[in-house]
């Protein structure tokens, strides 16, 4: 198993402070590090008070949408008339993102503790942790941790169960995830009703990402004011975040920095920059579903929810994919389109047909058989795929295509004009 990199002095280690310490995986080792103390304290605190602290901290969902966590929790009914559920989204499948995997494999008890605190705050008696099917190692580590902590009786009345996925990116969409727990195909549901009103098994439900939940014990321990103070640029973006960096950098990995940290420094300094003789061409800052940034935008980008939007993209899940000047952007965008075509649940026509045709047209261009009108056709398709479907998978396929054509049009035109040798066989 890969070992995490040595911490960089410019990182702010909160969630990742115990990465690399095998002992932290055991119940004993976790308690030795102060683990489960905040859960004990939380169980003796009124749920509403915990929600207030989390609201005050400014913590926002780390799965991609960035919705304020405390506010989400407060949507759950105060008067409990039905069973409440917590679903933990550990279906991490967004290309470029591998932070939750690292959290689960090094600090499984951090997730269990955060889960139990959240369940108490929303008055849930059952929590399901939905782990993607391919994460065999994190699943086994979590299962062991759950058994140990359960035997120690730290969860009180709360039941925590692991639910293994079976290979479907779409199950990371919260309503598809609930359907998958219910034993159904992972098709997203139309909202409303929102999960807090009618979620899994038709009952009030909250769905939170792994990284969001592991931040909660730290907030309870050190206070909302401390967490709010972790902000380098916009006060609406608080706390630390794990950024998964991959692609053409010398030292890929998970780096934890305070929100507002410059993307340029993350890439050139923490990750050691480009390989020798190479220069940065492009970057996808928040997982493959967000628009591509060119070099100037990358170098001017601050990593918080607002800063990335200012550069025309989104913070998303914090999966940073770096492309150097050797990358064929047309080919890479085709690979991403192929991903979405493969992962479309095929419920909505715009998505089922749009992702498939986007891929076919890109493949045609790469095979040297593209037509002059293909770029307009791709943009037209993308327009029909954006904002018109039950979930945003379709929009996610359109984002790299639209931004790619806008920023790297010349590379597409080289294939269309025969200036570039075809790389696919028709």
């Amino acid at each position: 198993m890969g070992f995490p990199h040595k911490p960089h002095p410019r990182e702010t280690l909160v969630l990742s402070q115990h990465f690399g310490q095998a002992e932290a995986r055991s119940y004993k080792g976790w308690v030795k590090r102060g683990g489960y103390a905040m859960l004990e304290q939380a169980l003796a605190t009124e749920p509403a008070k915990i929600i207030d602290v989390v609201k005050e901290s400014g913590l926002r969902g780390r799965g991609g949408a960035g919705f304020p966590t405390g506010l989400k929790w407060s949507f759950m009914p105060k008067e409990k008339k039905k069973p409440h559920y917590l679903c933990v989204n550990a279906d991490e499948s967004e290309p470029g993102t591998f932070k939750d995997r690292e959290i689960m494999r090094w600090t499984p008890h951090a997730l269990l503790e955060g889960t139990a605190i959240a369940a108490h705050a929303i008055q849930a008696e059952v929590a399901y942790i939905y782990v993607r099917g391919e994460f065999t190692e994190p699943y086994a580590i979590l299962e062991k941790a759950l058994t140990e902590a359960g035997a120690a009786g730290v969860f009180g009345q709360l039941q925590i169960h692991l639910h293994r996925g079976a290979g479907a990116y779409i199950c990371g969409e919260e309503t598809a995830l609930m359907n998958s727990i219910e034993g159904k195909r992972g098709n997203p549901r139309i909202k409303p009703p929102f999960p807090a009103a009618a979620g899994v098994f038709g009952m009030p439900t909250t769905i939170n990402n792994v990284e969001t939940l592991v931040a909660v014990p730290h907030i309870l321990k050190r206070g909302a004011a401390w967490y709010k103070g972790l902000s380098l640029s916009n006060p609406k973006s608080t706390g630390t975040k794990l950024f998964s960096v991959c692609g053409h950098v010398r030292a890929p990995g998970n780096y934890e920095v305070t929100l507002g940290f410059p993307l340029k420094d993350l890439v050139y300094e923490l990750c050691g920059g480009m390989r020798p003789g190479r220069t940065l061409k492009a970057c996808i800052p928040g997982g493959s579903s967000v628009p591509i940034l060119d070099r100037a935008e990358t170098e001017g980008c601050l990593l918080d929810y607002e800063g990335v939007v200012e550069q025309g993209s989104m913070l998303g899940s914090g999966g940073v994919i770096v492309f150097d000047d050797s990358a064929d952007m047309v080919y890479q965008i085709m690979r991403l389109a192929r991903f979405y075509a493969h992962e479309s649940c095929a419920q909505c026509t715009q998505c089922r047909e749009g992702t498939a045709w986007t891929t076919k047209i890109l493949e045609r261009i790469l095979a040297g058989q593209g037509k002059t009108a293909d770029l307009d056709l791709l943009l037209d398709l993308a327009d029909n795929m954006t904002g018109k479907t039950i979930c945003v998978l379709s929009d996610s396929c359109a984002a790299p295509v639209v931004s790619g054509i806008k920023k790297f049009r010349g590379e597409f035109e080289d294939y269309l004009a025969g200036r570039r040798r075809p790389v696919l066989v028709a």
Binding site: A166, G183, R185, N254, R335
Partner: protein, 173 residues
């Protein structure tokens, strides 16, 4: 690292004895206590079938349907939605290689080629003539910083390069 294998039957054979008997049935009954509906135990039940058989046949789907109060058609609908469930027998070792963009940038295609050659599977999705290996390309395995990740059965192996393929294949004697 543990080395696992599907204990399933050789390609083409279909077992007729029920999957859910003895400890496997007990395991299912235990799973049923976790959910308020029987249907919710479907995904874990299908995993139990695949662990026992190596794949999920129509007969197995009917058995699961019967146990959970569902129709065989419904179960097939779910099985066919999730790509990790095998609807056909596969090689003794099932190899999944990530080839999505981040891994592609780092040379995943050469890893696929090396695996196809070394295992003798030759073609994606085909099983090697000795029945031991099936290699497929998959979309994002969620370990992009450790390109190229490869899943051999339940063993998640990071940072595979074409040079490491021979040693990796040799591990599964």
């Amino acid at each position: 690292m543990s080395v696992s294998a599907h204990p399933g039957p050789p390609a083409g054979a279909e077992e007729t004895a029920p999957v859910f008997a003895g400890p496997t049935l007990e395991r299912l009954q235990q799973l049923l206590t976790r959910y308020p509906t029987k249907q919710a135990a479907l995904l874990p039940a299908l995993w139990l079938v695949q662990q026992a058989r190596g794949w999920i046949s129509d007969r197995d789907m009917a058995e699961v349907a019967e146990l959970l109060g569902l129709t065989p058609a419904y179960v097939k609908g779910v099985v066919s939605f999730y790509t990790m469930y095998h609807q056909h027998p596969v090689g003794q070792h099932f190899v999944q290689v990530c080839t999505t963009s981040p891994c592609n940038l780092c040379g995943a295609e050469a890893v696929v080629q090396a695996l196809l050659e070394r295992t003798g599977a030759k073609e994606l999705g085909a099983t090697s003539p000795d029945g031991r290996w099936t290699v497929i390309e998959v979309e994002c395995l969620g370990a992009c910083g450790f390109a190229t990740p490869v899943l051999v059965d339940d063993d998640f192996i990071e940072s595979v390069t074409p040079e490491r393929v021979a040693e990796l294949v040799a591990r599964y004697k």
